[in-house]
């Protein structure tokens, strides 16, 4: 495509001069992308902090209904997947194709485990009607779509919603807590889902032998992304599941 006086391997795009220049630019770009991811989650952490401050009692009471065991298992799963990812990158660096493929597969398996546990966790919340905002306790509605209210103006929860009905949590702030919970873990879960897609793509490319010690940037960047997913969970876990 271009005529340079020095070697220009096919994996170097035409507008870069050398593989080193391409790698430096793309890695820098990846870090800039990670920076924006962090600020994206910053908004969610801010929402968490604000409402934890406004409604400390509800936050403590509501977190009791999250399963710290499931959260803990997921933490271990994610950290392990981070390890296998790091090993995959190392395998790419050293040109160990077999290890690269195995470690990437392991990472994908752990990522799927994470989502499976998440699925059970979410279904438990749905079962107890621990849902965000207007859906907390699945309040009854009249024909016109307005919420039915009891004598003192409170929403009437569906019969099977044992925890909301027990009234141990203030309905409004509990709705906010579960809103925060679902959007934080949901956004994180979405990142896991995207990560699985990226890992699968990288795995396919690795099997075709696209990567070698001179060119493994895509593996490394997917790795950086995956560690970021782990990083965010490291904070989500104690904030949502543990703090009393």
């Amino acid at each position: 495509m271009s005529s340079h006086d020095h070697a220009h391997p096919e994996y170097v795009q035409h507008h870069f001069h050398t593989a080193a220049e391409q790698r430096a630019a793309s890695k820098f770009g990846m870090w800039a992308f990670i920076a924006q991811e962090i600020l994206f989650f910053a908004g969610l952490f801010m929402a968490y902090a604000a409402f934890r401050f406004f409604y400390p009692e509800t936050f403590v009471a509501a977190h009791e209904h999250l399963s710290w065991k499931m959260g803990g298992v997921n933490t271990i799963v994610l950290i392990t997947s981070s390890l296998t990812m790091a090993l995959a990158v190392r395998a790419a660096q050293t040109g160990n194709q077999k290890q690269l493929s195995i470690q990437l597969l392991l990472t994908i398996v752990f990522a799927c485990c994470f989502l499976v546990v998440k699925y059970f966790e979410y279904s438990a919340k749905v079962h107890h009607c621990l849902l965000p905002g207007d859906y907390y306790g699945l309040p009854l509605k009249d024909d016109a779509g307005n919420f039915k209210l009891d004598a003192i103006g409170n929403r009437i929860f569906s019969d099977h919603c044992d925890i909301p009905k027990s009234g141990q949590m203030d309905a409004k702030s509990a709705g906010i807590f579960f809103g925060v919970y679902f959007i934080m873990t949901g956004m994180h879960g979405l990142h896991v889902l995207v990560g699985i897609g990226l890992l699968a793509w990288i795995w396919l490319r690795a099997r075709k032998g696209h990567f070698h010690p001179k060119y493994f940037s895509p593996v490394e960047y997917v790795g950086l992304y995956w560690h970021l997913v782990d990083l965010i969970w490291i904070f989500l876990f104690p904030l949502l599941y543990l703090v009393k």
Partner: protein, 551 residues
């Protein structure tokens, strides 16, 4: 800079024809041109909305539109101008075209990402347009809760618009990531940080803000959508949420966004004033670093939009104090520009005229920020036309004037054509007069207490109503003059593209930064071979080097 990079081997980047050569192009220049077309289109639409707003306010009664329709029109004006015109105008349109050229690079670091940003921008714009069809939003461009999440006839429109802005945000983020990487890693051999044109410094500071602030807007708007769809309650006071928290979230992006809008303007003006006065910029380092300083301090001052909002007194005090700090780097820039003219050889070309207008209008915009940063006077001026006038002096008088100046400066480079110079000078005078008449009147309106976003003012007591009417009429007449000036500008720019339009000389202004080294219009891969940077961007031949030695 060494070597000759004439139009020998490769052809102009415009020469390949066909829809797909544009739709699938990875060439930053073509992507820049496509952005340019889009932002000018949206500028036109937003401008028409502005004229409708001004026309309604000619009379005190709300006789032209119903209150609902007026609210939709001004919201559309704001949202279009901010999200799809100003923010992408210089970075994505001019910046895309110029950044690699000015750095002596073949392209931006990630050309495919660049094309993706363009399509994401189109998708976001499509959502905005869809929101208009779905009934149009009437929330103001700020989407303040709880109004934006309350019962509304246009719920779908609000969701479409917020999703649109959410998507546009990613376009902006990806452009920012691309630019930062390009500036860091792809400068021509020999080009050190202090050899970069100031336009690049400005784009660099802009990109940093785009990357670090926009994601917060994204999550905010996502929460807003969930708020509407699921009743999350985070921003809804009726459900225990906090509307002031929404304002923090919103302004954490939207105040730095003001600097996304104005910083590139600073960059352009630095180029215009030096090239057309044939002199080095005064205080290169000060101007370069003040761009970065403004970008950073810009993150610390968002709460000055909220002095009367119910935020804590401590917050207001902190925000007011830091806000004043922005004035210092800004003043350094203005003084530097004025000093650049000293002992130059000034050509009154159209770009230079816009550069000089900028000094005037932006200085007014900056200075009128002071009473707004001051706590006591802001209480009186907040949410009045004084604020409207202030930010139009900064946005329109700052960025748009610089953008039009930059367009005139680089138009020959981009298209290879020269516009009608006399008509251009005439139109620029109309723009200048019209602009000042429109917006200076609004300072009086505002300090007299006229609130913004009012569709009618017939309920105002007699004594003030007369005053308001007078200044509104002045403002509206100014806006028509401004519109005529802008239409003439659009006319002669388009006319220059017709077959047989005047061809521009290779380097009409005698610029010495790298974009003038390549052919006009540039060849497909920007440069023949690799250019090497051998001197700073403002080393004009007219500079009296002998005097320097004595210096």
């Amino acid at each position: 800079m060494s070597g000759s990079y004439g139009n020998e081997g490769e052809q102009s980047y415009l020469s390949r024809k066909g829809f797909l050569t544009w739709a699938l192009t990875l060439d930053h220049k073509r992507i820049g041109l496509m952005y340019l077309g889009a932002v000018l289109f949206f500028f036109l639409i937003g401008g028409i909305m502005a004229l409708l707003v001004r026309t309604e306010l000619l009379t005190a009664e709300g006789d032209l539109f119903s209150g609902d329709n007026y609210n939709k029109i001004y919201t559309l004006h704001g949202a279009i101008m901010v999200f799809v015109f100003i923010i992408p105008s210089v970075p994505a349109a001019l910046g895309n075209f110029l950044l690699p050229l000015m750095l002596g690079a073949k392209d931006v670091a990630f050309p495919r990402l660049n094309l993706a940003s363009w399509y994401i921008y189109l998708l976001g714009s499509a959502f905005l347009i869809f929101s208009v069809l779905a009934g149009s939003i009437d929330t103001g461009w700020t989407f303040y809760t709880p109004y934006s999440i309350g019962p509304s006839d246009n719920g779908n429109a609000i969701i479409a618009a917020t999703l649109g802005v959410f998507i546009l945000g990613f376009s902006s983020i990806l452009t920012g990531v691309n630019f930062i990487s390009t500036i860091h890693k792809m400068r021509a051999p020999g080009m050190k940080w202090m050899d970069m044109p100031l336009m690049i410094w400005a784009l660099y500071a802009t990109s940093v803000i785009q990357v670090l602030a926009t994601p917060v807007l994204a999550i905010t708007l996502l929460l807003l959508v969930f708020e509407r769809l699921l009743g999350f309650g985070i921003f809804n006071p009726a459900l225990g949420g906090d509307p002031v928290l929404y304002q923090h979230f919103f302004w954490f992006y939207s105040h730095p966004a003001v600097y996304i809008m104005i910083l590139p303007g600073f960059g352009i003006v630095s180029e215009l004033l030096t090239v057309h006065s044939r002199k080095r910029i005064f205080g290169y380092k000060a101007i370069a670093f003040s761009s970065v300083a403004i970008a950073v301090i810009g993150f610390l001052v968002w709460g000055h939009h909220m002095f009367v909002s119910g935020q804590s007194e401590l917050s207001s005090t902190i925000f007011s104090g830091i806000t004043f700090a922005v004035a210092i780097p800004t003043a350094i820039k203005v003084f530097g520009w004025v000093a650049t003219l000293y002992k130059g050889s000034i050509r009154f070309t159209t770009p230079m005229l816009y550069g000089l207008y900028f000094i005037f209008t932006f200085t007014i915009g900056g200075l009128t920020g002071l009473p707004l940063a001051t706590l006591a006077s802001d209480v009186h001026l907040h949410d009045t036309y004084y604020v409207v006038a202030h930010f139009h002096y900064v946005m329109m008088g700052g960025l748009v004037i610089a953008f039009i100046g930059g367009l005139h400066h680089w138009w020959p480079k981009m298209t290879g054509r020269m516009y009608n110079i006399k008509l251009a000078a005439f139109a620029s005078v109309l723009v200048f007069i019209g602009f000042n008449l429109t917006f200076f009147s609004q300072f009086f309106l505002g300090s007299q207490g006229m609130p913004r976003r009012y569709h009618a003012y017939d309920r105002v007591s007699e004594s003030l109503q007369g005053t308001y009417k007078f200044w509104h009429q002045m403002s509206t007449s100014g806006s028509y003059i401004l519109a005529i000036g802008l239409f003439i500008t659009l006319g002669y720019l388009l006319a220059s593209l017709r077959k047989g339009g005047t061809r521009s000389p290779h380097n009409p202004w005698g610029g010495v930064s790298m974009e003038w080294l390549t052919a006009t219009p540039p060849i497909e891969h920007n440069f023949e071979g690799q250019p090497v940077c051998t001197h700073g961007p403002y080393e004009f031949p007219e500079i009296d080097k002998s005097a320097q030695d004595k210096h």
